[in-house]
């Protein structure tokens, strides 16, 4: 079985930098940052750690129902979803993730669009 991107890019020891960078990018974004205005740091970090690990094939599973429930009532629109996708692509590129691997991650997140965006 092929190694996951999570393993390929160094496991948690490497992914934690991606998580922090993505966390900062999301908070700094005026488009999606306000969604986290009242979210405390522990919850947001927890969410981002699981989210990045999940997309890279790390040791976390997100059943569709859980993913949908986590984003229900947030009224996430298509432009918000696109924005997060762009931020993620940029963050991964900053950490020298190969373009082909970034495409894989972005395709994966795209496949969950209907569960996340309203």
């Amino acid at each position: 079985m092929a190694n996951s991107l999570f393993d390929k890019y160094g496991g948690f020891a490497a992914v934690n930098s991606i998580v922090i960078e993505f966390y900062n990018s999301v908070l700094d974004s005026d488009e999606v940052g306000p969604f986290f205005e009242n979210t405390d740091m522990e919850n947001l970090i927890d969410h981002q750690t699981k989210f990045i690990s999940f997309l890279l094939g790390g040791p976390v599973s997100y059943p569709d129902a859980k993913l949908k429930a986590a984003h229900a009532n947030l009224e996430i629109q298509a432009n918000h979803f696109d924005s997060v996708k762009t931020l993620l692509g940029e963050t991964l590129a900053d950490f020298e993730v190969e373009a082909a691997d970034i495409d894989v991650v972005l395709e994966k997140i795209e496949s969950y669009r209907s569960l996340i965006a309203a």
């Binding site: 922090i20 966390y23 700094d28 306000p34 986290f36 740091m41 750690t49 976390v60």
Partner: protein
């Protein structure tokens, strides 16, 4: 350059946030640039408690009076982020004046990393639990088709070598008139009945050290003495056979379906091995199995029959007249 000016420049140059405030009024007198970057409103005259609402000045005074310093960790929101500062407040005296010095280290990144580590640890722990659960299920399934010893060998070496057991006892049970029952009962009903019977046999056998090897339609095979060389396997297999009979007779008294068994026993050497490459079946062969099959074929309704050799080895005196050549009826109505 005046000493006061040098001191101020030093306070401005250090990498930690510094604020000086009046111990009595709690009003800021000075803050350096690092501190000022955290609070837009920070400046002379501003109450320190306006910046840190959780800060209790009475606590600060008490701690400084008793221990010389006050330590705390306080958080606040800025630009959608939670910033966490580790603070140490001490007292400095300038001439006749006493001023409180607050040093603040930004430990936000440390707390973020700790949160991330906690989140990741939980993920890994959950994952490990799920893997362990799956492993346990696989082990349970394999132990249904393999004796414990064979399973342990498979787990350690990835293969099971055929093994000769010098002395073990085998029980073969089948049901009289099964073919006819198979025609009369609905398939689901028949399977449900067999499932119940075989489960009961498994439980009875397990208590006495007998292990089911396989079933083949209405034929049930079990063996004693494979795993435990100290077991009186002949005694155990006779006891098991006796309990199978009793169980069936009791069940028949209250069940719509009557099951009549015949039981054959044999003992001696057997070879145990896994047969098959992908679809594993653990099976046993040898004289003990052949004897038990032959005894089973010779048995009448609810009879437990063993070969002469079995009876002689086990010193099992039959109270029934020998009616079949080479066989001893051990239990009958």
């Amino acid at each position: 350059m005046a000493i006061a000016s040098i001191n101020e420049q030093l306070l401005r140059a250090v990498g930690v946030g510094i604020a000086l405030f009046d111990g009595n009024t709690g009003n800021l007198q000075f803050c350096n640039d690092v501190f000022g970057e955290w609070f837009d409103d920070a400046g002379p005259g501003v109450a320190i408690t306006a910046l840190f609402p959780e800060l209790d000045l009475n606590d600060v005074k008490t701690n400084i009076t008793t221990g010389g310093r006050h330590s705390a960790e306080l958080s606040f929101r800025r630009n959608r982020r939670t910033l966490v500062l580790a603070q140490i407040i001490s007292r400095a005296t300038v001439g006749d004046e006493s001023v409180y010095v607050m040093e603040c280290q930004n430990i936000t990144r440390i707390r973020e990393l700790e949160s991330m580590l906690a989140s990741y640890s939980k993920m890994v722990e959950r994952n490990t639990r799920e893997i362990q659960k799956e492993k346990d299920q696989v082990e349970e399934l394999l132990l249904n088709i393999l004796p414990r010893g064979a399973y342990d060998e498979y787990k350690s070496f990835g293969a099971i070598t055929p093994k000769r057991y010098e002395d073990a006892s085998v029980l073969v049970l089948d049901f009289v008139g099964f073919s006819k029952m198979a025609e009369q009962l609905a398939p689901a009903n028949l399977v449900s009945e067999l499932n119940e019977l075989y489960t009961a046999f498994d439980q009875i056998g397990e208590q006495l050290g007998c292990e089911r090897i396989k079933t083949n339609g209405d034929t049930y095979f079990c063996i004693a003495g494979l795993e435990d060389s100290d077991l009186d396997h002949r005694g155990a297999i006779i006891k098991t056979a006796s309990l199978y009979r009793q169980y069936l007779q009791k069940r028949n008294a209250s069940s719509e379906v009557d099951w009549v068994c015949r039981i054959g026993l044999g003992s001696g050497a057997v070879i145990g091995s896994v047969v098959g490459v992908k679809k594993y079946v653990f099976d046993v062969f040898g004289p003990a199995v052949s004897d038990a099959v032959a005894a089973n074929a010779a048995a009448g309704d609810f009879e437990v029959i063993a070969t002469d050799a079995f009876a002689a080895e086990g010193n099992t005196a039959s109270q029934f007249a020998p009616s079949k050549p080479g066989m001893q009826v051990l239990i009958a109505d």
